[in-house]
């Protein structure tokens, strides 16, 4: 079967996406827990050891507290309560911590520091798996043994107000609940008012045993404006007054009933210095935990630092406090200070219960989890050697197929013979398939179902096996063909290989070096440095090439005009010197004498010579806009300076200026309608930012009314869709009518400008310069570097890819879940709707690579020099994107016992998975464009 290399590459990437998905499923399994859950609950509590006095105390001890109120504040970092902020904004809590009857702790959360896994950890006492980060968006019911289920079984009445995640986790457990959606990040007053409005009624009623309140506002403020925002203070003061209200109400009730109640104030995770969470910095891990009850001793003047405990300890403590059995999978230990006031015999009894539960958990888990037991317990994929990692074969097979077909795919015809049908009917295919299915059957029937593929349905497993063996055959036949050709070539032809230019060597070495660097955790954390370094070097190499090109052109005609050569060299030197000071150029009379050298006019020649330096300066400016990574993330940067509330005026000016420049750069090639739409859309972007209070209008001095800006954002969305629609219409027209290429070029450019408009809407205002510089660099490169130097499609593609990657980091991303800006998913949405929110977030995160790739398409199709450019580009793009992914999957598989596997390598794996998915979409788009090209 003959395929265009573009279509072939797109197929390969799609198959690779399947492989990566399979690998991810195997790598992050749903955590397996103890199987004997039902029995556990039925069996009686462990009897007390019969040492000493005879005893037949087999029942659970009675509850210590009558009522329990859990006040969970999302993102409550330890220093918000125990630090200077706590003293300033939470006076009542500080009083309770220092003088009241309370115990305070710093509870350490485990990775991932995202809400849903943390709620699970608090209630089950176990450690959730890493993949719960992704499931955070879509939480299914919690089936594991947990405190809430136990309490419901014991007939306690539970009331819940707050984050909807709880309602999804415990759908039938609450006698009364009101869920607020947690994803509308820019709203931080209403979410909390919705919780507090029920409080007065409920506190008076007293027909409940457990009350859970989950406040989201603090976390939302963190996401929007960071932990040093003045809004944090207001929110903490509000939380303090709520705590006081609950505490006084509980105290007055105790005076009547004389049974102590318990009030728990805790956070689920912390907040990093940039306001996000999800990673493993100290600020994100340490949360405040305060237990308040009149049963505790007062400790006046006790100003010790709060003790560090694990977050999972709360589940065991709550279970003991409510007189319930401890959840079976809990790895926490009882917080001993809470039972210190009880008689010694009871204290011992509580400890014994906890010890029995823990030893049972250990016994159940140790035989099959010997290796995992030494680690923190969440590394459950480690058991079973064969299964999950077989999926790693997939991407590497695809990669080798791509690599083997390079020479053919990059030939002038850009077509290649895909060895697809002959291998399918070959003996090798059936043999491999037979061996694989035999292995599958043997493993699944003999072992105690620890095989990963047995978890899949038979149909999926069969499909996977067919695909694997087909790919294997394809690789083998491609290999055979290459070797045959190689022998043939070496025998009959000694035609010299085209010499590699320095640029090609740099591109090759850079790609290899980047892939190798993924093996080191520091290089993953600081991957942005790698990319910045590479594109800087690329610019210098381009600069070298430009200067040398000019020189060689001089050398070819030195006899005719020797003085011109000298002149040129002098100008080049002057340029070099000038560029040390600044990059502005004033063409002198010299340029006149240069016109004879080139078809370019003098001014353009100057621009060609200056362009690498302009690009380098742009990159340096962008680099200081957002500090990302780990080591230097705390450094002050322009982004923080701009977003601080004192510099709103500067931010407004910058935003307006950026939007104007964006319009000026994009409108060049648009049709008139889309020009108007673009202008209105960009105006709408400013209105949206003004409406949500990021920027100011000149006539509006202080931002009084802050809305969600839904109308403004939808206004922009309409224009985005309109421009995209116009673009698609043009493309279809060019396909049907097949008249000229200009319609298609305009169409592609319109799609590109629609994406730019969407990015302008979704980017935070301080990130708009990233968009501006991206457009600027694209314009400069197109005009002054790619066209005059006549790079081939492969080089241009790889340069686009490198710049796309660099811009991914320029916009403030990193290989860390915490930097994903989820507020972008809610622009123009009233409530959380899954599909658009996920799409918008993904687009905002990967805007850099996507915009550069779409620029690549429109650039290459506007250059009509060679028809096969697009398919070459598609092939190269697929190759260069799948290379890091495949290598990284193998690296991760071999590094799975690394200390940082969860904190560094796994988030990067998720990013890579997402990236390959987006690459697949881009490649399919490429191929579609290519098809229309060949038809017309």
């Amino acid at each position: 079967m003959r395929l265009g290399s573009g279509a072939f590459a797109a197929c390969c990437v799609v198959i690779e996406v399947l492989g990566v998905a399979l690998f991810l499923r195997g790598f992050f399994p749903a955590p397996v827990r103890s199987s004997s859950r039902a029995e556990q609950r039925a069996e009686p509590a462990a009897p007390e050891p019969s040492a000493g006095a005879s005893s037949n105390w087999t029942k659970l001890p009675p509850p210590l507290f009558k009522k329990v109120v859990i006040m969970l504040i999302d993102g409550l970092r330890d220093d918000f309560v125990f630090g200077s902020k706590g003293v300033k904004f939470m006076p009542y809590t500080t009083y309770l911590v220092e003088k009241g009857a309370s115990h305070s702790f710093v509870a350490e959360a485990k990775l991932p520091t995202v809400t849903m896994p943390r709620i699970k950890a608090l209630m089950t006492g176990s450690l959730p798996g890493f993949i719960d980060v992704v499931r955070n968006l879509n939480s299914p019911e919690l089936l594991e043994d947990n405190v809430i289920t136990q309490a419901k079984a014991a007939g306690k009445r539970i009331i819940f107000y707050g984050d909807e995640t709880w309602v999804k986790l415990f759908p039938k457990h609450f006698v009364e609940y009101d869920g607020t959606t947690s994803f509308f990040v820019s709203d931080y007053t209403e979410v909390d008012d919705n919780v507090t409005r029920h409080l007065d009624k409920v506190l008076k009623r007293g027909d409940w045993d457990v009350l859970i309140l989950h406040y989201l506002g603090l976390d939302h403020i963190g996401h929007v404006s960071g932990p040093s925002s003045p809004l944090i203070g207001h929110k903490l003061r509000e939380m303090d007054s709520i705590l006081m209200k609950i505490h006084t109400s509980l105290l007055s009730e105790e005076r009547e009933t004389l049974v102590p109640n318990l009030l728990v104030l805790c956070g689920d995770h912390g907040m990093s210095e940039t306001g996000g969470h999800g990673a493993s910095s100290m600020e994100e891990l340490n949360t405040a935990l305060i237990l308040i009850s009149s049963a505790f001793e007062r400790k006046p003047g006790d100003i010790r630092r709060p003790k560090h405990v694990q977050q999972t300890d709360l589940a065991a403590t709550l279970a003991i406090g409510l007189g319930l059995p401890i959840p079976g999978n809990s790895v926490g230990s009882l917080l001993f200070p809470t039972v210190e006031g009880r008689p010694v015999r009871e204290q011992l009894r509580f400890l014994h219960l906890n010890a029995v539960q823990l030893s049972k958990l250990l016994q159940e888990n140790v035989p099959s989890y010997e290796k995992a037991g030494t680690r923190s317990g969440d590394g459950l994929f480690l058991n079973g050697s064969l299964p999950a990692h077989t999926a790693a074969v997939f991407p590497s097979q695809v990669l080798s197929l791509l690599l083997l077909s390079i020479p053919e795919a990059l030939s002038n015809k850009a077509e290649l013979e895909v060895p697809l049908w002959s291998p399918v009917f070959s003996l090798l295919f059936y043999l491999t398939l037979l061996v694989l299915s035999a292995l599958h059957v043997i493993v699944c029937t003999s072992a105690e179902s620890s095989c990963y593929f047995c978890g899949l349905s038979w149909l999926t497993a069969g499909g996977v096996m067919v695909l694997v063996s087909a790919l294997l055959c394809a690789v083998v036949s491609a290999l055979a063909k290459t070797f045959g050709d190689g022998k043939f070539l070496s025998k009959n032809s000694a035609h010299p290989k085209p010499r590699w230019s320095e640029l090609d060597v740099l591109i090759l070495l850079g790609t290899m070096g980047h892939v190798l660097s993924l093996g080191a955790s520091s290089f993953i954390e600081e991957e942005h440095q790698t990319w910045y370094f590479l594109i800087n070097t690329l610019c210098l190499a381009l600069c070298h090439e430009i200067y040398r090109n000019c020189l060689l052109r001089d050398d070819s005609e030195p006899q005719q005009c020797p003085h011109v050569e000298e002149e040129f060299i002098r100008t080049a030197a002057a340029l070099q010197d000038r560029s040390t000071g600044c990059d502005t150029l004033e063409p002198h009379g010299v340029s006149r004498s240069l016109t004879s050298l080139d078809t370019l006019r003098g001014y353009e020649k100057w621009m060609v010579l200056a362009s690498p330096w302009v690009i380098l300066t742009c990159c340096r400016l962008l680099r200081s806009l957002n500090q990302t990574g780990v080591q230097w993330a705390h450094r002050p940067d322009l982004g923080h300076w701009l977003t601080s509330s004192d510099h709103k005026a500067e931010l407004s000016v910058l935003t307006a200026l950026s939007l104007i420049v964006i319009f000026a750069l994009v409108q060049r090639k648009c049709s008139l309608t889309s020009k108007v739409a673009l202008a209105l859309g960009l105006l709408g972007v400013y209105c949206y930012r003004a409406a949500i209070g990021n920027v100011l209008f000149p006539w509006q001095q202080d931002s009084k009314d802050i809305s969600k800006g839904v109308i403004e954002a939808r206004f922009v969305h309409v224009f985005v869709l309109g421009i995209l629609f116009t673009g698609t219409k043009d493309l279809l027209k060019s396909q049907v009518i097949a008249t000229d290429v200009t319609i298609k070029t305009v169409g592609l450019w319109e799609i590109y400008s629609g994406l730019v408009l969407l990015a302008a809407l979704l980017f935070r205002p301080h990130n708009l310069p990233v968009l501006v510089f991206s457009l600027l660099i694209q314009t400069i490169m197109t005009k002054f570097i790619w066209k005059p130097l006549r790079h081939d499609a492969a080089e241009i593609t790889i340069m686009h890819y490198w710049f796309g990657q660099a811009f991914f980091y320029f916009q403030g991303n990193s290989n860390n879940i915490a930097t994903v800006d989820i507020s972008a998913g809610f622009v123009g949405l009233d409530t959380y709707i899954e599909v658009p929110a996920v799409f918008l977030t993904a687009f905002a995160t990967f805007a850099g690579p996507v915009l550069w790739a779409s620029h690549l398409v429109s650039f290459l199709s506007s250059e009509t020099s060679s028809g096969s450019a697009l398919s070459h580009a598609c092939f190269c793009y697929a190759l260069i994107c799948s290379f890091p992914v495949s290598a990284y999957i193998i690296l991760v598989t071999s590094l799975r016992y690394h200390l940082f596997i969860w904190s560094v390598f796994s988030p990067k794996l998720l990013y890579e998975g997402m990236h390959i998915l987006i690459t697949a979409a881009i490649c399919v788009f490429f191929t579609a464009m290519d098809q229309t090209n060949t038809k017309s």
């Binding site: 290089f523 910045y532 370094f533 080049a572 030197a573």
Partner: protein, 219 residues
């Protein structure tokens, strides 16, 4: 191009390497607490001065390129002054490139500048000695097939290896090993030095191995 030429080249290069070694050993007799890592800036100055001095002396003794036709005093003085200006400009040029590569703009200016000075010492000073303040000749030497003698060939090799050493020297900076030599710009200066020394060692050997293939236009 004779073997004696290559021998002379080798000796001059050995002297250059020797000067770097001396710049590491000698100052510890005169200065207290001298070490490359802790008093890095002092070492940079000393190393730069000694390498420059050795290069100048060697140039005056060996005279690799035939003496210029005009040799009036005023011509020599202007030539020398021009060389100084070129050297300073190359320092600033490298400084700007380091900042573009991500060196801090305001903090650590002195460190960055001294790094630029030492890189200029390794690259610009030999160029100035051998080719004089003549950008045209420089561009010729550093383009493909442009060299005209083994001296220029070795100059090409040492300069490029210094740059590559500097470039590779930046790699360990993001690693979290927390070693003293990972501090900016120590790893880069060390990389530049190693690159320069490696170039000095490699170039005579390389020329020796390839002496059959090498043909220079003017030789």
């Amino acid at each position: 191009m004779k073997d004696t030429d290559i021998k002379r080249l080798l000796y001059t290069h050995l002297l250059c390497i020797f000067s770097i070694i001396l710049s590491i050993c000698i100052p510890s007799f005169f200065l207290e607490n001298f070490s490359i890592l802790e008093t890095h800036l002092t070492w940079l100055c000393i190393c730069s001065v000694s390498v420059t001095a050795v290069n100048l002396v060697l140039y005056l003794i060996v005279k690799p390129n035939a003496s210029s036709k005009r040799s009036s005093i005023s011509y020599k003085v202007t030539r020398f002054l021009k060389c100084c200006i070129y050297f300073l400009m190359s320092c600033f040029f490298f400084h700007v490139i380091f900042v573009l590569y991500g060196a801090p703009l305001i903090e650590l200016v002195l460190e960055t500048f001294l790094f630029a000075v030492i890189l200029s010492t390794f690259t610009t000073v030999p160029c100035l000695c051998l080719l004089g303040p003549n950008i045209k000749a420089w561009l010729r030497v550093f383009s493909r097939n442009g060299v005209t003698s083994i001296w220029e060939n070795s100059l090409q090799i040492t300069t490029i290896s210094s740059f590559i050493g500097t470039w590779l020297g930046a790699f360990p900076i993001p690693l979290d090993w927390e070693r003293p030599w990972q501090v900016w710009p120590i790893s880069c200066t060390l990389g530049a030095t190693f690159g320069y020394v490696a170039g000095l060692v490699i170039s005579p050997l390389w020329i020796y191995w390839n002496r059959k293939q090498l043909t220079y236009k003017n030789n």
